[in-house]
Amino acid sequence: MSITKYKDTIENGDLIMVYISRLHIKPIVVQQGEVLNTRFGSFPHDSMIGLKYGAQLLTPKGKGFVYLLHPTPELWTVSLPHRTQIVYTPDSSYILQRMNVIGGSRVIEAGTGSGSFTHAFARNVGQSGRIFTYEFHEARYKQAVQEFGDHGLNDMVVVTHRDVCSQGFVITQEKIDADSVFLDLPSPWDAIPHLDEVISQKRQVDICCFSPCVEQVMKTVESLHENGWTQVEMTEVSSLVWESRKEMIREVDDALKRLKDVKKRQKEGIEKLKELAKAKAKAKAEMKSDTYIKQPKLKDRDRGYNPFGKGRRIAEGEEGFDWFNVSKTEREIKSHTSYLTFAVKVPQLQL
């Protein structure tokens, strides 16, 4: 099977992505006789074989379930442990779009890193394209070779264990003739001078350098200019994930009604007032947070906080109340990945 070609049915030996929870998606290779253990229960691989991709799978006891997903470069990226700096989808998708990496493109990538962007490159270039990817860290190189094989990318991807900054990009197997270059290196300026040997001499070549720090960008920009690259532009992708939420609509008239009620009761005499105070104190003691609000009778309910009676947590979006549809980011957001420095090199053809 290949991550770059859809299948309908799960077969023995397939790489699948098991959705356990939103923050936990586990890639496994389906093997007869194996078992997947999760906190929701155990799932024998045998029960997966023959199911449709996307199927829900219950534990034998029916207590928990997972979904069996088809691998995609983006799901693969999400499922990765953060073992090295990963190029996430907001960056990778923009790079692919802007550099026009499409079927038939010939791409240089250095370093391979986690290999996750390699997957997206491979998906885009297809069988007629080619990815030349370089990794100088030996353990990572070996892992990449293994994974690309498992994921059916061998037709498109050529992995080389090398430090391109000192040794350049030339390989003996074939002429690279790249039209797209992606450098995710601490010092891209050491690699840039080596590119002329391997990029296309017949068409525009696009480059993108991925650097977290401004100082790196500055040196990269200088190196690109010195090496004849033009249209140099630095960019930064900001991305946000929005969750849709519901916020209760509390009307002022309900609050006024409640206050009037309080006032009326207050007028009903000191005795009553004292009881009230007790009830209030009790209600207060029972309140743990602002979201603990009163159980109103639906008939003549009060949309705001009602100090009489017992506190109850109202679920977000609960019926019997009015809600604003709102959106919210997560508490902690990613505010920076890397700067992307783009440039092009256009062969100066002589007609």
Partner: protein, 457 residues
């Protein structure tokens, strides 16, 4: 491989559609008609024949007689490094360390008049005219020498953008087409879509050769084009539209032939999509003899119609077989009530991507899918690119940019076992399990980071 794909268009060729960038950084769409001329207005006119054969991305300077001179790049300001022999040599002038002596009195400091500039323009058509005008303007600027070197460069760049006669020929890629419309036409023609959001849609939808996609496209065909480029002639795009035919005006500016579009893009209207059984085409096929005996014109018409019937029937087959590998939805029809119906036609574990210019429209959709067990990982994504000026010593983000760029809702269509799971409440699906996970993490962090014993809030 087919040479219609922009990727193959490395070299400027006849009949190509391309995008030209002017010194003002505005862009325009042109077609390379053999023997034709292309006018850049005040930036000059040149013959198509002179630029055909160069690589896309090449810059040129307009010379006398509609000729051009290839340039390595268009660059402006004091370090104008474009290697042209015709350029006037770099200007020499004094500059000031700061601008304390500079008075902002607007146009009064300029001694050269608009009329003089007009007359110079008439003198000739080449770039040297532009350079001469700039030289005269600088000489005519009374307080030019009181400016700092930075503001001199700024001034010079501004004048060069106005008067120099250089241009760059760019490939008609989906990104270049999008940016042309977004920056120089009207972003609303594309429902506000930005390049980065387009990229995000293509990746989230996992668009690749061989996929069979469902699409609603109110961007005039930009999405069709972006998908075609990635699919390289393999797979299909079933295009749901709401009129008698889809509006794909932008495809006329690309290099795809009618035949190529026929093979890849299958239009189907809403009614046919929603009720495929009831809307099968009822025309033909006629017996072979009858077709053979038709007058020529009628036969051609008949065959053309049958071709469409065949295409439509194939699409209806796919709808009935629920055979789609992805949904990309960019329509002004309310997705909240429609998308939940569409996804029944998709295969399992295939992505759903809904674009809208307004987040508010997607929030409702997201709420629905939070309670719908057919969709995993429902979220709204926003992506926004900032561009920086990279002039040495003056690195900073561009001071203004085009606002908006849209939002996407994305999720994965899955196949829940019927009856096995109550179509989960919101809390079930996200809040509980995840907030627990997240809170746990946070608490661990806090415990590690800070003592709890003496805190007051």
């Amino acid at each position: 491989m087919n040479s219609s794909f922009s990727h193959e268009k490395g070299i400027i060729g006849y009949d190509d559609w391309a995008i030209i960038t002017l010194p003002s950084s505005a862009t325009k769409i042109v077609q390379m008609r053999k023997g034709g001329s292309i006018s850049l207005g005040k930036f000059g006119t040149f013959k198509v024949d002179h630029i055909v054969g160069y690589a896309y991305g090449q810059s040129f300077e307009v010379l006398e007689g509609k000729d051009v001179l290839p340039l390595k790049s268009i660059s402006y300001g004091l370090d104008d490094t474009s290697d042209t022999k015709d350029s006037t040599p770099a200007l020499e002038f004094q500059s000031s360390e700061d601008n304390r002596d500079l008075l902002d009195t607007g146009s009064k400091v300029q001694k050269i008049t608009a009329k003089e500039i007009e007359e110079m323009k008439k003198e000739g058509g080449g770039n040297d005219v532009g350079n001469k005008i700039i030289e005269r303007i600088v000489q005519g600027h009374e307080s030019f020498e009181k400016k700092t070197i930075y503001s001199q460069e700024k001034y010079l760049t501004r004048k060069q953008r106005k008067f120099s006669r250089r241009f760059t020929v760019r490939n008609m890629t989906p990104s270049n087409l999008l940016n042309h419309i977004r920056k120089d036409r009207d972003p609303n023609k594309l429902m506000g879509l930005s390049e980065e959001t387009l990229g995000l849609m293509m990746s989230h939808a996992n668009v690749m050769p061989g996929g069979n996609y469902l699409l609603m496209d109110d961007t005039g065909g930009l999405l069709v084009y972006a998908m075609l480029e990635r699919m390289q002639g393999q797979g299909s795009i079933t295009l749901i539209h709401e009129n008698d035919q889809p509006k794909l005006v932008l495809l006329n500016r690309t290099n795809y032939s009618e035949e190529e579009l026929y093979n890849m893009v299958k239009p189907i209207n809403l009614l046919e999509f929603v009720d495929p059984g009831d809307n099968r085409p009822t025309i033909g096929p006629l017996p072979k003899e009858e077709v053979d005996s038709m007058p020529n014109i009628r036969r051609i018409k008949y065959l053309r119609r049958m071709k469409k019937v065949k295409q439509l029937n194939e699409s209806l087959d796919m709808v009935e077989a629920r055979a789609f590998d992805g949904l990309i939805y960019a329509s002004t029809i309310n997705p909240v009530t429609f998308v939940p119906r569409i996804i029944e036609r998709m295969k399992g574990s295939r992505p759903i991507v809904v674009y809208n210019q307004f987040k508010e429209v997607l929030i409702g959709l997201s709420h629905i899918f939070l309670r719908d067990s057919r969709v995993l990982l429902p979220n709204i994504y926003e992506s926004c690119v900032r561009q920086f000026q990279t002039i040495q010593g003056r690195l900073h983000p561009l001071v203004t940019s085009i606002g908006g760029g849209g939002y996407i809702f994305s999720g994965i269509r899955v196949l829940p076992i019927e009856g096995a799971v109550a179509s989960g409440r919101r809390n079930k699906k996200r809040s509980c399990e995840e907030r627990e996970e997240r809170n746990k993490k946070r608490q661990e962090k806090e415990v590690a980071a800070e003592p709890k014993d003496d805190t007051h809030l």
